[in-house]
Amino acid sequence: MTEIFGVPTQALFSQLLIGLINGAFYAMLSLGLAVIFGLLNIINFTHGAQYMMGAFCAWFLLQYLGLGYWWSLLIAPIAVGAFGVIIERTMLARLYKLDHLYGLLLTFGLALIIQGLFRNQFGSSGLPYQMPEALTGGFNLGFMFLPKYRGWVIVASLAICLSTWYVIERTKLGSYLRAGTENPALVQAFGINVPRMITLTYGFGVALAAFAGVMAAPIYQVNPLMGADLIIVVFAVVVIGGMGSILGSIITGFGLGVIEGLTKVFYPEASNTVIFVIMVIVLIIRPAGLFGRER
């Protein structure tokens, strides 16, 4: 069996693949965060909890309504996104005039509430969610065995990320959004309803998180704490990519997932911390992030 730098190719490629899959989740989640931060200037600490809500929504739909995975991919983001809209209208909107760190604290508190409530109800060890029939099984690629579902994760997340990027960077709606980020007063003067745009943007970011949650349900157990540790890593990804940059978060998300996977192969002890180390370095050298602009 061939070896690269002393590591068998099978191990290398399979870890790279796992890294890519993790990266897919980082990308989807950091995309939502970047979109929210770009327009609202708020760090949405609740993002992890909303990701978890998406997974639970899928579980609910299957358990009590018999609606499967494909329905959940559609319904869960809308449901959780609506919840996000409510949060924004009732609570976040009051904080825009204040120091933005209050938004961080508010969303942190919300995350605690949501996670605590779910944990009370469901315990913390995870509920099983069945993999959709169409995606069970896998392909034997020779150097490793690729489960179909994990391949689907990569494809779907790329699709969502790139379509989001396209909408924001290349369409008229997206241009309003970008303009609203730069100069809300002026955009409002042009007749665009900026507060509504902000609300919908928050809702969209949350929906992205929920979508990621549904995708996670079949492979990671559905449990109330699934977003809690993930969110910190996603913050790091967003900061490295550049806080408001859409493309930055996509590329950085996938890239860091791969780097993490590689670290697991060559130097496993550091795999948890490598992303944070990179973040500290980036913040010192290029504080706006790799793709961001200083605000």
Binding site: L101, L106, F108, L112, P287
Partner: protein, 323 residues
């Protein structure tokens, strides 16, 4: 971060008297508490967190810097103190000193990295570094990971006072608390403290007046880290255990909450906040995860409607009455 509390609410002599009265009342109450039937171990926990919250408030309330990673100082000191007492056989006072020194050193390193940025970026850097510290401790053999350092001996203070006696331990902790509290008060009301406040209110202007803002912020950061370490080291000796809970990011969130709830930028606020939160956790301990939920609710309510915190609101009400 702009503090909502008006610190010029009271004329200075009245404020000083108010402070003296408040401190004496606090010391008397706390000295008597174990004899009134309050569980001393609970009180000790609240006192340690009181020191932690006061130290944090120095940075947030007076320095205007929100650190989201302060748990790393609490936990580092805890681990080092526990290791020193258990493995190196240090007596408790040296073990606590070791832990505190370790946190101070970490504070210098982290401070130099983090001070360069402001606001949200500062919070994010401290959070990221705290996570790195957590993962380091998770894997370092000397911490025993999930199991923590257990069976830490309490030892004899200065070779004389046997700390396995709960009351003896309590008064030692109380003494440490009062010492730290007074130190912070002294710092805040010194020229250093005034400059710090000036930097918080308007950094460019302070710089134009000739003050090296970065150096002041760094000093405040290191002082905050050191005192947080003192809290952590003492806690490890009291509970005879150092564990991952103390370096986990939710601990960083807890201290923010204590300070916010008690009153940012006030002297007594963090102490009140610490006692309330620890009391709440103790009372709700039998109710599963409701502790987390209620903590979250308090956060939300404080941020939306109660930004001055308990002591801040009280001070404002008092000032209005006198006006």
């Amino acid at each position: 971060m702009a503090t909502p509390v008006s610190t010029a609410a009271l004329p200075s002599r009245l404020a000083a008297n108010g402070f003296a009265l408040g401190t004496i009342a606090m010391i008397v109450l706390l000295s008597v508490a174990p004899f009134v039937g309050i569980y001393p171990v609970f009180l000790m926990k609240a006192l340690c967190f009181g020191v932690f919250a006061c130290a944090f408030n120095l940075l947030l309330g007076f320095g205007g810097l929100l650190s989201f990673g302060h748990a790393m100082f609490l936990g580092t000191a805890g681990y080092l103190a526990a290791h020193a007492a258990k493995v190196w056989g240090f007596p408790p006072e040296l073990a606590i000193l070791t832990g505190t020194a370790a946190s101070a050193a970490l504070g210098v390193v982290v401070g130099m990295l983090a001070i360069r940025r402001q606001g949200i970026y500062f919070a994010m850097i401290t959070l990221a570094i705290a996570q790195m510290v957590y993962f380091f401790y998770l894997q370092a053999p000397f911490t025993h990971g999930e199991d923590g350092i257990q069976a830490v001996p309490r030892g004899k203070l200065f070779g004389v006072l046997d700390l396995t006696n709960t009351l003896a331990m309590y008064y030692v902790v109380l003494a440490i608390f009062v010492g730290a509290f007074l130190l912070i008060y002294r710092t805040v009301h010194s020229p250093f403290g005034q400059v710090l406040k000036a930097i918080r209110e308007n950094e460019p202007r302070a710089i134009s007046l000739g003050y090296n803002a970065d150096r002041y912020k760094l000093l405040a950061f290191v002082l905050s880290a050191t005192l947080s370490g003192l809290a952590g080291a003492t806690k490890a000796i009291v509970f005879q255990l150092a564990s991952l809970t103390d370096v986990y990011w939710t601990m960083s969130g807890e201290v923010v909450l204590m300070t916010l709830l008690g009153g940012m930028g006030t002297i007594f606020g963090p102490v009140v906040g610490a006692f309330v939160i620890i009391g709440l956790e103790n009372y709700l301990a039998g109710f599963g995860q409701w502790v987390t939920v209620i903590t979250g609710v308090i956060f939300v309510v404080c941020v939306l409607a109660f930004r001055r915190g308990i002591v801040g609101e009280l001070a404002a009400w008092w000032a209005k009455r006198r006006a």
